[in-house]
């Protein structure tokens, strides 16, 4: 038993006896080898889905938004549901990279690269929806406050949709920079190992002439810290602003002050679930069990149960306020048309997926069970999709004037658009897993100094020395 340098409570962040070279080998080698059969199959499927999405969107742009089943009462349906869902998924990446970095959470290093990539791709997918839900998408540039020749014609700064434009684009830019700056040392590693000219050239360009000098590292660290500082408020702001789309409106079920924290918690919830889904597959296929350990999975499951419960409290608070607030329209929306009514089923799917089922993670055994975690991650994402559907559609379909009440089912181009964004996401993710180091090599190496078997091995001598000597050494160093 090693008591001085190994905590019984904290498990190692990297399993197995790894030295720096081994780490590089483990993570960079897949980039240099030909991908496996599964990769090709998966990539082909993704491309097909993407193309179907492109077809569906083209159809919609050509024939008009009317090919979707939205109507005079329900102006937003799957489009904005999917938008909020993807944006929410995009939250975990930045949370892991920025906030956990500021809090010096060492465990993040195993998952941050993939999580950040996921963020970037998810935000890319999310962005498609507000663009293509526009009736005249070719006029989309009107939302940008650019100097124009139309007289003093400016965008409407009162509109939450405009805030969205800024929030999402800022978030995307900062996330991309953060991700890319982390990639630079790793690209340099690939470049240095490269055996083909082309690879050397491309990774050489991508690594921006990184030499690994102390000055480079110092600047790299500084930049990471600055970007982390910038991203941290963004984690909170993006979904807060997305929630403003609803919270600032007058529609019962939307007009709620609880939305900002509720949306942020929900976003982290779904983001972590998506990270789980992807990493459980990745670590299995790419053999990265040593780097993405059970400890990681458990840590993320803890976040899931926490945020899931926050979301649950939010749901109950909404119900309470609908009753306590004394607004008959809001009462009806929640109790008659959400919890019951023709779309009531979606509310109960949301409740059971988001609030009830994550409670299994109160048990350590469940948190550390790969199969349970994987299934739960899918359930949570289904639940969070329904949360957005419930918020958007069950508020709109029966609002103030009963004469306009309506119903909504998606049409094939709406389904196609959603499927297409899966295609986009996985196409990007497959390319990422093939050409990019899926784990931050440099950052993993940094924790090898303080965690893992090889670190422990170095400590054997110290452990075996007497306590007096240890104390003496410790005081005189």
């Amino acid at each position: 038993m090693h008591l001085k340098y190994e905590s019984t409570l904290r498990e190692p962040l990297v399993d197995g006896v790894k030295d720096y070279h081994q780490v590089t080998e483990d993570i960079i080698a897949p980039i240099e080898a030909k991908p496996g059969k599964l990769w090709y199959v998966g990539f082909a499927i993704s491309i097909v889905l993407l193309l179907f999405g492109v077809f569906s969107v083209t159809w919609e742009v050509y024939y008009g938004t009317g090919v979707w089943n939205l109507n005079k009462t329900i102006g937003w349906g799957w489009d904005i549901t999917n938008f909020v869902w993807w944006v929410g998924i995009g939250h975990a990446g930045t949370l892991i990279s920025a906030i956990l970095m500021l809090f010096r959470q060492g465990w993040r290093t195993g998952v941050n690269r993939a999580a950040e990539a996921m963020t970037i791709f998810a935000v890319m997918c999310a962005g498609q929806f507000p663009i293509f839900h526009m009736g005249r998408v070719w006029m989309a540039f009107f939302v940008l406050p650019y100097p124009n020749t139309r007289g003093p014609l400016w965008v409407n700064f009162n509109s939450p949709l405009l805030w969205d434009v800024f929030a999402i684009s800022t978030y995307f830019t900062v996330s991309l920079l953060f991700w890319y700056s982390g990639l630079i040392p790793d690209f340099a590693t690939v470049r240095d190992r490269a055996k083909t000219k082309l690879r050397k050239l491309l990774y050489g360009v991508a690594s921006f002439g990184w030499t690994g000098s102390t000055k480079h590292w110092q600047r790299h660290e500084a930049l990471s810290l600055v970007l982390a500082g910038l991203s941290t408020p963004l984690v909170l702001s993006v979904h807060t602003i997305v929630s403003f789309d609803f919270a600032t409106s007058v529609i019962p079920g939307w007009h709620t002050t609880i939305f900002p924290p509720y949306f942020v918690a929900g976003a982290i919830f779904s983001g972590f679930a998506m990270v789980q889904t992807l990493l459980i597959i990745c670590r299995k296929i790419m053999g990265l069990e040593d780097y993405i350990t059970m400890g990681h999975i458990e840590a993320m499951n803890k976040v899931i149960v926490l945020t899931g419960s926050i979301v649950g409290v939010a749901y109950l608070t909404e119900l309470f306020m609908a009753w306590y607030g004394g607004n008959p329209y809001e009462f009806d929306t929640f109790y008659k048309f959400r919890a019951a009514g023709p779309l009531g089923w979606s509310y109960w799917i949301m409740m059971s997926c988001n609030v009830i089922s994550p409670q299994v993670f109160w048990f350590r055994k469940m948190r550390r069970n790969i199969a349970v975690t994987f299934v739960m991650s899918i359930i949570v994402n289904i639940g969070m999709w329904f949360e957005r559907f419930v918020i958007i559609c069950t508020s709109l379909y029966r609002d103030y004037l009963p004469s306009s009440w309506s119903y909504y089912r998606p049409s094939w181009p709406e389904l196609g658009f959603y499927i297409g964004t899966f295609g986009l996401f996985f196409t990007c993710f497959f390319l990422f897993s093939k050409y990019f180091p899926v784990i931050a090599v440099a950052e993993i190496k940094s924790i090898l100094k303080v965690s893992g078997e090889s670190y422990k091995n170095k400590m054997v001598a110290l452990e075996e020395s007497s306590i007096e000597k240890f104390e003496h050494d410790a005081h005189h160093h």
Binding site: G64, V137, V155, L162, I251, L401, P402
Partner: protein, 1033 residues
């Protein structure tokens, strides 16, 4: 000759050195775009290269990508005297259709009629219109109209028409008519001059006769009047004089005789004077729910077979000496007693009308009116009405004669018996035996398909004519456009075939000049559109001499079968002659809110029996309804069911006017839409019956979608609709708005104070506002169509209505409340409320919707990118999105979504040039007819005085027969809207969803029902409560 020197400036005169230099180097700077040594050797050719590259790329892109179709607009070489581009010309004319008549003013722009308004100078209709009148302008541009006289070589196939010149066809027809006895078959003709022409024509062909055939017949009334008063005519009705109206299935606000006139009259009696509240009381007894029944204070249902008993019971209750059959339904019995009591108390202030076409029932109704003292007070026999003249037995006899081969020639004008005669097969067989058949109809309709010669007549907007709809009351028809096609006035054809060389226009004119005395008088008459007695003649009664006992004995007492069937006319489609009108097809039916179809209306109870989905969420969210096979009178049709609260439990109701022929013949809008219900009509020996006492309905095992624009029927007790009874309103006028009083708790100025942006919208000059009186809105839909015509609102077609993509800027919400079998109905016109704190405005990312300084919430269509956020955030859901390319206003090829030929070059002539058509992907909504407001302001500015109240009218306001809509400048203390809001109607005034603090510019006036308080108390009982719950869905 001395050379004169002209100079442009002093420097030229003095020829200064600098001037000489300037002249020498007129084009001083060499343009660098020349291939020269200097260019090639220039030190900076890169810049020029980039210029070239940039220019050519841009030019090529523009040339390649922006292919703009060339549309030729040819300006006038010489401006016509009376046409100023941009300035409308107005012409008085008269809408006439099957005897229904409405004097109108036609607005033309650059020679095209684009809008119809009522003619205020008529004392009969007083400027009112109906949806069909409003829609008739579109009928002018109907692409399915026949375009030339022709010989019909392949019956039923429009391609077989052989175009003829008028001279040729006249020659052929004259030859074919020679020596034959002709029958002229028309719908009711109200024109004295046309009748004279007909008389001359008939005289030319001895033995000939004129048969008047009304698709929906009123012969029962005409014959009953003959039997009762010795007058084969219809009287003038005066609903405005009636304190009590008892109505037996006469849809006088929707389809009965002349609804525009009656709506105006009845509306007068429903206006509430707050200082002294009183209104008429309206009892309705009917089998299905008509628009009129929906507006009744007390409404009772009965089977069609029970009508005789109901009428007799009322007669007996009034003291008539007749033994009336017992009535088992307690509610109905009570209703009769109540009606009798009301009539007795209002002797001489009562009007009883019945929609029945049964002579004997109408005789009893006459007897009731006689007892009630209606003759001479609410029924005027001094001025009779010519609205309908058809006698059913004449038509039956004609068909028999045709089959017997005794008719030599048949000339059909405005009648379409192959479609709407009850025994169409027999008519067809007879038609085949007639040697010479001629049709004047406007399209290749079911009858015209089978005739030999086709000489299409003009549309009324292209015609000359006169109308004597009531004796002594004349109105005129004058052309508002040159005939679009090679058509000819019906009268002109007759004149030609009578060998009278007179031109119809001159014939008409000379007759009138002779009558009026001078050309000036004729011009004045045309300008005014009407000639009426200088002082309205006194109302006159008539002595009732009908044989009540005989009539009572003849009323069939046969008990009906398990189910009974009634046929009715829809407000928008009527008898089906004007059915090929996409506006009217898409107009939501006032009662069912359905479009584009007919269906079998049944009660919820019957739906349950037939294992259909019943009223509730499931029924609401599925547009597909069960198809029923309905059999009656040996005929059967398959129609989808539609549940109608308020229809009698054992009655099926089907609208006529649907199931027209092939699309290519009738037109894309009406052709092959719905099923023809006319075969269910039967002939009882004297008149046609529009019901069947024995019908069956069974499941046809199919589903069929119906395009409903409103699926939920209840207003869920929400304070969006406010109503009370007259009695309670008199007792406590403030009660109806008690919840508004509670708002005062937030301070006197809560409307202004409850916002962060207090002075955001203070309107110093004009502030537009509208008031809608729920008490005088009968839900007829004239405003909806007026709005559609005025604002170029697109038609979307049935499939898109099913998807709830319809575009109407103004809709009329219809809510039921109370018991599912005897519901109360309320109509609420809903349009953009022009909120001063508009939730749509602040959410638009590009500021495409914003507030005008006059309080209008306005749309900049060009700026709209179509996020639909504004529509989501509109609490009234009045914003309409262009889901598809309805009108070819986007630049994608082949994505036009057109139903009903709305985008034909011809049809597009109806578009109002003052209003832009909206591109696909943009949002639109009511603009308060901003183009009219601008016009009125400019007119006032040019005239140099402040705009007068009433100078600016919205289209809906102008179309409303009952003046339910008041509009104006609320900052003008003399305006009607200001007075209404601040003095006249303070008690009933409320704003819909006022509590959301959107500050709407439209107020509503609470509805008042003149019903007994007693049933209301009952409604609080347990049983009624349960019914209420059921009817909520």
């Amino acid at each position: 000759m001395e050379q004169k020197k002209y100079w442009k400036g002093l420097e030229e005169l003095h020829n200064t050195a600098s001037h000489q230099e300037a002249v020498a180097n007129e084009f001083r700077d060499e343009l660098p775009f020349e291939e020269s040594e200097s260019l090639l050797n220039a030190t900076t050719p890169r810049r020029d290269f980039l210029k070239y590259l940039g220019f050519t790329t841009a030019a090529a892109t523009i040339a390649a990508s922006c292919e703009i179709p060339v549309k030729k607009a040819i300006p006038y070489v010489n401006k016509p005297e009376d046409i100023t581009p941009g300035v409308p010309n107005l012409y008085a004319s008269t809408y006439v259709q099957d005897g229904e008549f409405v004097p109108v003013v036609v607005k033309t722009r650059e020679g095209r009629p684009i809008k119809i308004e009522g003619n205020d100078l008529s004392t009969v209709t007083g400027g009112s219109t109906t949806a069909r009148v409003q829609g008739s302008v579109l009928g002018l541009y109907d692409v399915a109209r026949l375009r030339f006289p022709a010989i019909n070589s392949k019956p039923g196939n429009k391609d077989g028409l052989q175009e003829q010149g008028f001279a040729e066809i006249d020659k052929a027809i004259l030859a074919a008519l020679a020596g034959k006895t002709a029958v002229l078959l028309t719908s009711t003709i109200t024109s004295p001059s046309t009748k004279k022409v007909i008389g001359e024509f008939l005289a030319k062909y001895p033995g000939s006769r004129h048969v008047t055939y009304d698709t929906v017949s009123y012969a029962g009334m005409i014959l009953a009047n003959e039997a009762s008063y010795g007058k084969r005519a219809l009287p003038s009705y005066h609903f405005e004089n009636a304190k009590v109206v008892v109505n037996f299935g006469a849809d006088f606000l929707g389809t009965w005789l002349n609804p525009a006139e009656f709506t105006k009259q009845f509306g007068e009696t429903r206006k509430i004077n707050q200082a002294k509240p009183e209104m008429s009381k309206h009892f309705a007894f009917e089998s299905t729910m008509s628009l009129t029944g929906a507006n009744a204070d007390e409404r009772y249902t009965h089977r069609p077979s029970e009508l005789g008993a109901v009428v007799l019971n009322l007669y007996a209750a009034l003291g008539g000496a007749v033994s009336a059959p017992a009535i088992s339904d307690a509610r109905l019995k009570e209703g009769i007693a109540k009606a009798a009591k009301a009539i007795k108390e209002n002797q001489g202030k009562t009007l009883v009308v019945a929609g029945s076409n049964d002579v004997n029932i109408q005789i009893i109704v006459n007897a009731i009116n006689n007892l009630a003292g209606a003759n001479g007070t609410t029924i005027d026999w001094n001025t009779t009405a010519n609205y309908r003249q058809g006698i059913d037995s004449d038509m039956v006899k004609l068909v028999e004669d045709m089959n017997a081969g005794t008719v030599g020639a048949l000339l059909v004008y405005g009648a379409n018996p192959v479609y709407d005669y009850f025994d169409a097969a027999k008519f067809k067989a007879g038609l085949a035996k007639v040697a010479t058949t001629i049709s004047f109809n406007d399209r290749y309709d079911e009858t015209t398909e089978l005739v030999k010669y086709i000489v299409p007549a003009h549309h009324y907007l292209e015609s000359w004519g006169d109308v004597e709809a009531k004796s002594g009351y004349y109105s005129f028809i004058q052309p508002t456009i040159a005939p679009l096609f090679k058509t000819r006035a019906f009268e002109q054809s007759l004149l030609t075939w009578t060998s009278n060389p007179t031109v119809w226009e001159d014939y008409l004119k000379s007759a009138w000049i002779a009558k009026l005395g001078s050309q000036e008088a004729w011009d004045k008459a045309l300008q005014d559109g009407v000639i009426e007695p200088a002082t309205a003649p006194a109302l006159g009664g008539a002595t009732f001499s009908g044989n009540v006992a005989d009539a009572a004995a003849k009323i069939p007492t046969k008990k009906g079968g398990e189910l009974e069937l009634v046929l009715y006319e829809k407000v928008a489609i009527g008898n089906g002659k004007e059915a090929n009108n996409p506006w009217l097809q898409e107009m939501p039916d006032p009662i069912t809110r359905s479009t584009w179809d007919n269906y079998a209306l049944i009660s919820n109870t019957l739906a349950k029996k037939l294992n259909s989905r019943v009223l509730g969420d499931d029924y609401e969210i599925h547009a597909e309804k069960k198809v029923l096979k309905i059999k009656a009178n040996g005929k059967e049709v398959e129609l989808p069911l539609l549940i109608l609260p308020g229809i009698h439990k054992e009655v099926i109701a089907i609208a006529v006017g649907y199931g027209r022929g092939k699309k290519e013949n009738i037109g894309k809008a009406a052709g092959e839409v719905g099923q023809n219900a006319y075969p269910f009509v039967s002939f009882n020996g004297t008149t046609f019956d529009y019901f069947s006492t024995s019908a069956t309905a069974e499941d046809a095992g199919k589903m069929y979608p119906i395009g409903l624009t409103q699926t939920h029927n209840s207003y869920e007790g929400r304070p969006i609709v406010k109503e009370t009874t007259l009695e309670e309103f008199i007792k406590n006028p403030k009660e109806v708005n008690a919840d508004r009083e509670a708002l005062e708790h937030y301070g006197k100025d809560f409307r202004r104070d409850a916002t962060l942006y207090r002075d955001q919208h203070t309107n110093l000059g004009i502030k537009w506002g509208m008031s809608i009186d729920l008490n005088t809105c009968f839900g007829c839909g004239a405003c909806t169509i007026a709005c559609q015509a005025e604002n170029n609102v697109s038609v979307v077609g049935k499939e898109q209505v099913v998807l709830a993509h319809e575009m109407h800027w103004l809709r009329i919400d219809r809510y039921f409340s109370g018991d599912e079998n005897n519901p109360e109905v309320v109509f609420q016109p809903m349009l953009c409320q022009h909120c001063d704190n508009a939730p749509c405005e602040n959410v638009c990312p590009v500021a495409a919707t914003n507030h005008s300084s006059e309080g209008i919430n306005q749309m900049a269509y060009n700026r709209c990118i179509g996020t639909r956020y504004c529509a989501n955030n509109c609490p009234y859901k009045v914003r309409r999105f262009n889901w598809r390319d309805w009108n070819g206003a986007d630049s994608f090829e082949g994505n036009l979504h057109d139903t009903g030929d709305m985008n034909d070059d011809l049809t597009r002539m109806v578009l109002n040039p003052d209003v832009v058509v909206r591109a696909r992907g943009t949002m639109e909504k009511c603009s308060f007819c901003v183009q009219r407001l601008q016009d009125a302001k400019l007119a006032a500015k040019k005239a140099g005085h402040p705009m007068k109240d009433g100078a600016a009218k919205t289209a809906c306001q102008q179309a409303c027969s009952a003046d339910a809509i008041v509009f104006g400048n609320v900052n003008d203390k003399d305006s009607a809207i200001y007075k209404l809001r601040n003095e006249l109607q303070t008690d009933r005034l409320y704003y819909v969803l006022e509590e959301t603090h959107v500050l709407p510019s439209i107020n509503y006036l609470a509805k008042i029902r003149n019903k007994d308080a007693a049933p209301k108390a009952e409604a609080h009982g347990h049983g009624a409560e349960a019914h209420k719950e059921a009817a909520h869905h």
